[in-house]
């Protein structure tokens, strides 16, 4: 742990507003290289933070947290990005959590997804199938989501209706195109997600 960088003394952390506020979590999920970090950087008002989570591929018993036990396990490190967006009036602070979309990171998901307003799933039309896994994970958790298709220079020109059917989306699930490098475009995707989360209140979500 001594090799970990500590906060440099001149860097004052971006503290939370002193006035009473509520904090709300939104996930930004999707396969590798789809634009999660970019979207979070675009939306965040503070320098984005990054953590490395350590996981084992095999289940580790609680009595197994010894040094010897750790050395014997195959561990994976998973990076998570965090961004923060304070809404006008300082009454609500949104946290954007960039989450890796693979099922093997499920233990990580449980804690990160808890209490989220919903998830923005990013998709790339060149490899739509790579978003399936994360969509499944989110659906299993009963979390509302919207899909934002990021358009890359060599992306095929897809009709959103075709994308919708390829992704096998529920008719109510919002599907938008998004440029994760652009503020208004990224905000628009969050707006679609939030409107959808509101309309799905009481339709069985979070009941489990």
């Amino acid at each position: 742990m001594d090799s970990k960088p500590s906060v440099s003394p001149d860097l004052r952390p971006a503290y939370l507003p002193e006035r009473e506020h509520q904090r709300v979590k939104i996930l930004v999920a999707g396969p590798m290289g789809v634009g999660k970090t970019t979207a979070i950087r675009t939306l965040s008002q503070i320098p984005t933070l990054h953590t490395e989570e350590v996981m084992t591929d095999a289940a580790v018993g609680t009595d197994d947290l010894s040094l010897a036990g750790l050395r014997d396990k195959k561990t994976t490190t998973v990076g998570i990005d965090f961004g923060r967006l304070t809404l006008p009036g300082d009454r609500i602070v949104l946290y954007l959590h960039g989450t890796p979309g693979q099922r093997r990171f499920l233990p990580l998901w449980e804690g990160i997804a808890f209490g989220a307003l919903g998830a923005l799933v990013l998709a790339d039309t060149r490899r739509l199938d790579e978003s399936f896994e994360v969509m499944d994970l989110i659906e299993e958790r009963g979390l509302p989501y919207a899909v934002a298709v990021n358009i890359f220079p060599d992306s095929p020109d897809y009709d959103l209706e075709i994308v919708r059917s390829k992704l096998d989306l529920h008719p109510d699930t919002p599907l938008v195109t998004c440029d994760a490098r652009e503020m208004n475009s990224s905000l628009n995707a969050l707006i679609e997600l939030t409107a959808h989360s509101i309309s799905s209140v009481g339709v069985g979500v979070g009941a489990s």
Binding site: P13, L16, T51, T75, Y95, L108, E110, F114, T194, I198
Partner: protein
């Protein structure tokens, strides 16, 4: 958040020694805000505990932000924070009062989400 799956997470070796509470799943949310109470560290606190307390001496941060600033995994930070809250060195505040409503599984209320929506719309116009 007392889910069994949390117990699968690995702890760095330096936390595996000492406190027997380290393997308990955290009761704190990742967005719990933490601030130092002013109470001094005790001899059984580690340097990492000290860095957490120092970071939130002048203001509040959530557990995920503390993890980001200190280069710790979130799961580890949650456990450190939980110990420090238990020892009275940190004050904790829940992310939203709704987090206490089990029927919504910790998710924001409709009213809160409507405020989020209008806030986002206001930002877009700006």
């Amino acid at each position: 958040m007392s889910r069994d799956k949390h117990q699968r997470r690995l702890l760095p070796a330096y936390l595996a020694t000492g406190s027997g509470t380290a393997s308990l799943p955290s009761t704190l949310d990742t967005l719990t805000a933490l601030r130092a109470s002013g109470r001094p560290l005790a001899s059984y606190h580690t340097p990492v505990h000290g860095r957490v307390v120092e970071l939130v001496t002048d203001g509040s941060l959530t557990a995920v932000e503390i993890a980001g600033y200190l280069g710790l995994p979130v799961s580890v930070c949650l456990m450190l924070a939980e110990q420090l809250v238990g020892d009275g060195l940190l004050n904790a505040s829940v992310p939203t009062p709704d987090a206490l409503a089990p029927s919504r599984a910790g998710r924001p209320s409709r009213q809160l989400m409507e405020e989020v929506l209008s806030g986002l719309q206001a930002l877009r116009v700006a």
